[in-house]
Symmetry: D4
Subunit: 248 residues, 8 copies
């Protein structure tokens, strides 16, 4: 409810166009239902097609299905992350248009047109084993209305492979770097490019990787200054983050 | 060296304007000294006044002084982070224009004009004890040519204080959230605003804070999707990161 | 054995109503069998219907069955936590009245009437994936004789959802907050309400959650002052704790 | 702003007692400045004499002095925790009534009468080295308007010492247990008493105590069900928590 | 090889009773095959029936079977720890006398008479879930030739249960305390008894137990002075250790 | 209070030799003041000269002085661990007989004769930097009435040095192994000797020693079966433990 | 591209033997495709038969199969680590010459002759459970063209077994030590031998081994000076490392 | 004592050239004093001038002085690491030839000629703050008789600086990489060079570096295969290790 709406309401009160009790109720409801920012959020959703998101881990198939049924009525785009095959089969029955990226374990349902900006997001990854996280990030970014360029398997162990792809990396407005093991790729790219870099540590690696801790600490301590970090294996968060920046 | 420069060089070879050996040397030097991206970097520095940065921790006063003497000749802006009082006194002698932010332990030397973009960076912090990190981030962002708005002491324990400042936070192009203890402020702002948020965990807090680990993990696990994280107490990194985004 | 009982015993000795050896034996047994506090405990159990509790993890089906058989004879209410489906099937055979909350993996056997106090316990949770812990806490609290109000899925990422339920949260005598990821919900509620808050970190979340460590540290470091914490995923402990406070 | 106030405002609008712009402004300010709960908070403060709290760690002497000067004007009671001798000297100059508990490093300024309830808080500690935390908890609880009973040096290594004081512990409405090393005291008391126990791990101990981690984990994993835990060395949090419960 | 044996050998050399090359070979072999201590070890094994030990974790069924076949020839007693059902079935085929303690996952093969000393080992445990570790310790101690008394389920949450069994605990020459969760039982017994206590932390417990870390740290930090600690869930080590002390 | 004492008391009641109220009081006091075990403890103290112990860390000089003054009246031997020079100076004034081991930071006051058993305790250490812990253990063991043999600087890096001292190590009834860095010395000795080994990890070492964690974990995971572990740098605990075993 | 090649290219430009655009393109491509070091790498591969390596963990069977199909065309030797049975079956179909070491979970495909140097690599391991890592290291080293000597089951608990094999260990040019639990074997061998030692911690062990952390820290803190460490269970890395040194 | 020496001894026995008791004594002493390997060690020391090493941390000035006095008599080269200024002043008095590298906190005393091999060791470091570790490694390697090339300040944040020095790095026989923060430099060099790389993590960096843990884990998880790791800040270990390899 914008200021002019409040002023309009008060005028209506003054001019007896609305009952006093009714107006009072509207004002009481205001802080929680109609806060300006909530409206902005709704507007943005319409404009850029922001999807509803379901995080499936720890939810039963039935729970996910119910949540998505409810979302489908609202006609918005839908993203279901960490979704196993079984969940996808259940969703497909209530929404045949649902797409499943098996590697990324992510379901996307596009009900609205997307109009990506001109700029694009580059997703760079160190190794093949990082692909599930790359896919989660890519699908997220795409359903949020972005163009995505993937540059796969350019880890630091063979740094010349990275150099042949520098143009496409530098051309992006924002870069997602996905790497496990020691996560050095984020630092190397951070030293070569002057764009915001969102680093995603992955749990890929041998023992003392400690399920991604090594890559996480590596990225947080990056000697390159443009790197910020999201949670281990959090492709969704990286994609979402990059989308906000790409739409600035 | 851009493609046209190479072509020009070859033409000069062809037309005997340059000795063959000299041309060969230029090409041999090319990948390391004159790579395209290096040039871009130089250009950007001139354009937006990107400063040289010295991280003083673990360096002696003499080492810092020598490094800065060298930088001063290049006429660029200079930032010296984690600088104690003693270092500042030494720098002041060789550069009276040096400014010192005691709380943020940061020295700034501005030798070039700055032309900030219209958009600004909001730096939000939870408590008074987070101020040193806020100051480091703010001074960094300002010397990188940005307008900065500081919103101090709006921690989650008194959430209504935050709400009164939401407009200025939402108006920013990018938001830095500085918080110690449990770092919940990043999540709360992330749930209210749709802008990129760079979260800086601080080492402020009681025992099980473990020198910032609690805030770090809290921010990495933020349930709000637009949050990415830099190292504990890394105000410089946050300011640098935010500047890149604010200049997109 | 209260002081007057001892005095009575001594009088009986004096008046030859009891053999000296027999009296000596009673006194020898005293510290371990008849300590005052043990009696108090028994009384309380009768009064408020405190149940016997079996923690099933690490116990075989046979062990649990035997323990509960023994308890059934004592006619008390019984709570079996962390009980898998298989255990429930075994218990049902020896006690058809046993109820099973599958999500909370908890078996309840009510053999005595419960008379809850007027005040109630609010259980607030951040996300759907926290439900198993919510259920464990709720079933525990209910069998301990409390009214429970559940407020589900009001996590910090959408803080306005929380505000619409503040009345019911504030109306409680004690509040259980169940949250995974960064656990910020405890801090936010702690900043809004002046009631004792028992925070339960859950193991819900991405990688650097480290099985609940992030939420645990977050809650322990809460900047809000009324928050105390129980073990990760320990819905039972939270329910038990809240019950003690609600019955003060 | 209660419903009747809104209704009154609308009537004023209707009856031209207030300018429309002014009324609109009041409504716009409403959710953040005048939320019901904020009022409740103010009322409670007046009623039970809740103090303002300053956490001095990480703040300069000047900062603390300024904050307390401001608070003194509001005529409320004041608590400054983690305050070194130097801070106390500075505060004493602007407020001669300030008291300093040197062991607990806590300053208390009582400007309002306190009217403690009949029930009391027991603070039990394992060893002499835990005293600073005991003092912080006790001073906090007392300025929040509670009677406090301290039972010192009854650690598990000499369990019979504890048993002689059980009566006073059981008589309390809520119990704070302060212990370092392995923190077993919380479990032992939890097994003997049916009252809410707030456990405070301390950083007292040899090497593998890891600055309180051992006691913290020990207390979180307590096999006794009525124990909840606050941060390491957080006497203030325990005192505050206990006060809320003691005033239920 | 004792000194007199060497002297005897040299005499044989001198008297041509042994070829010089043969004598040289014996001396070359000496440090590794016939070192005094090795002999002592052999002697002890014969005397007290010390068993050979196989740690089955990480070994294939075939590997374990081969190792035990080889041992069986040497006619010693045999202990196979961490042995699954499948391994037991395989061993039974080559040695029908093998016994299997399913709970303790331990196979014992007694081929020699055992003559326990008069003193005994007490094994005290906190809860039913600790039984597998208790059994591993007990079987180990018994096959090493000791009498064992088990005192089960006397955890700190119900400390009076422990007191009724104090006599049998105090009567032991050495005490093994097995406890998970916070491991407080070791401290409590350490405060009541003046015998060597070997504490075994178990991985039993909720989340922040971190697979036994809580109990491990708790026991290492025990405020009682007679407690030493072995690895998490290491019933074998505790039994072996206790046996050495019981045979002093 | 033994059974015959209770019977005697009852007879006195019967024969009017004691007032009934007085007898009742004695019985009420019984479980906490006069428990059998407390008596045993007192007896043992007299017999073997067990000292009173003060752990000075976290205590003020005044506190330590008061505690020791009180102990001196009881005429027992006294041990004050982790005592700085300043504490020693204060103690010396009230007890000129106090001895100070500066390296071990331990004060010993012997007021009673000690009669060590024939067997002795061997204390073996890896390096010179471990000496403070060795001294703490040795002084503790000696004041507890034991003969001690120290074998210094026989770390694994020069294993032949260890072998030349094996006889004296094997001759001990119990062995304390003090080692920092990786703590391998405990395993090596454990593989050579069949005596109880109490391992003390020390905080000596480079970075990834993490203040003794490396040695602690190393010793807990020792592949040799006779090793149990006390806290990092806990020379006192090791000495106390060894004394109990040496006096079996 | 060597300097003379560049000079040749420029001469061709000068003499019109190449079109200017074409020459420019070659120079642009230069830094990434034809860097000197890349050539050297190719040469080395041809000379010593360095294999291509596939790390199978986190890759699907199909992905591994495709990668190896591509490698087979290049006629190089191939190593696939962390390969399950299923992957091996798939590879065998496209390359019947593939060998599978089941224990080491490693596939080797030798397409080129190997010519090992005279020196050899010794691989020493503590226990049978370390064999999978030993096999991974051995197969890697062999396919990289080295002779390997395995010395198995010579852990510190029975140090005399190690001494009988010292000759073969000392004869190696480089030594790999594989050990779990506390990893003391690396220190012991490091104290006996003056050769480079590559230590591989394994995840073999009881609870507080924390999946190899104990052995890892132990080896990093080794008091012996010639030890360097690779990741937990990283047999491949050790074999590769040792091969580089053995071929110096 | 070699086999022929033993045979010679036996012949002497046979021929009465040595008394039988004397010969027996020599054989008894054999395993500990005269083991073959000890001899080899002595020989090597003479040949390559291996120094004696004193690790000063945790030793008093007096202790270090005594140890070095003793070493000086043996006429070997001496290395004292982690030596503060005060220790150096004390050593200089008893050995004026002692040299002190203040940055590296290392004292070197060269009493014997060094004859370095032709090959050299490259020491590469990421930043100026890593210099103390570089100096410790360099001084160690030099006193062990090696040529050293230092390449300073070529961290990943400016990767082109590294490329200009690749030739000198590739020319080395073995490479030491010293880096703090995320330690990515080891991976990058490992991807460019086919030489053994000894990585030294340093404790240089911001908060979540956790005193070198980030760099340590990063290096252990390096995706480049030729990297092995020594302890945090362990320049000595790296220099020693590299020297062994350089002298192969």
């Amino acid at each position: 409810m914008k200021r002019e709406d409040i002023q309009k309401l008060l005028e209506d009160v003054k001019n007896d166009k609305i009952r006093l009790e009714e107006a009072a109720q509207k004002i009481v409801d205001l802080p929680f239902k109609d806060l300006d920012f909530a409206k902005i959020d709704n507007h943005r959703e319409v404009r850029v097609g922001y999807p509803e998101v379901v995080y499936c881990e720890g939810k039963t198939v039935t729970q996910v299905k119910e949540i998505i049924s409810y979302m489908l009525e609202k006609d918005s785009n839908i993203l279901a992350t960490r979704a196993g095959e079984e969940i996808y089969q259940a969703i497909k029955k209530i929404c045949p248009a649902a797409c499943y990226n098996k590697l990324g374990r992510i379901i996307t349902i596009q009900q609205k047109e997307l109009t990506p900006p001109d700029s694009y997001i580059a997703i760079v990854s160190a190794g093949t084993a990082d692909l599930p996280v790359v896919e989660e990030a890519a699908e997220t970014a795409k359903l949020l209305g972005n163009r995505v360029e993937k540059i796969i398997d350019v880890g630091v162990a063979g740094i010349h492979r990275l150099f042949t792809r520098l143009d496409i990396i530098r051309g992006a407005k924002v870069i997602i770097v996905v790497a496990g093991m020691e996560g050095a790729l984020a630092s190397v790219i951070g030293g070569l490019v002057n764009k915001p870099i969102i680093a995603v540590p992955t749990s890929v690696g041998y023992g003392a990787n400690f399920n991604g801790l090594a890559a996480l600490l590596g990225m947080l301590n990056s000697c390159a200054s443009g790197v910020s970090v999201v949670n281990i294996d959090n492709g969704f968060g990286a994609g979402y983050n990059a989308s906000i920046i790409n739409n600035l």
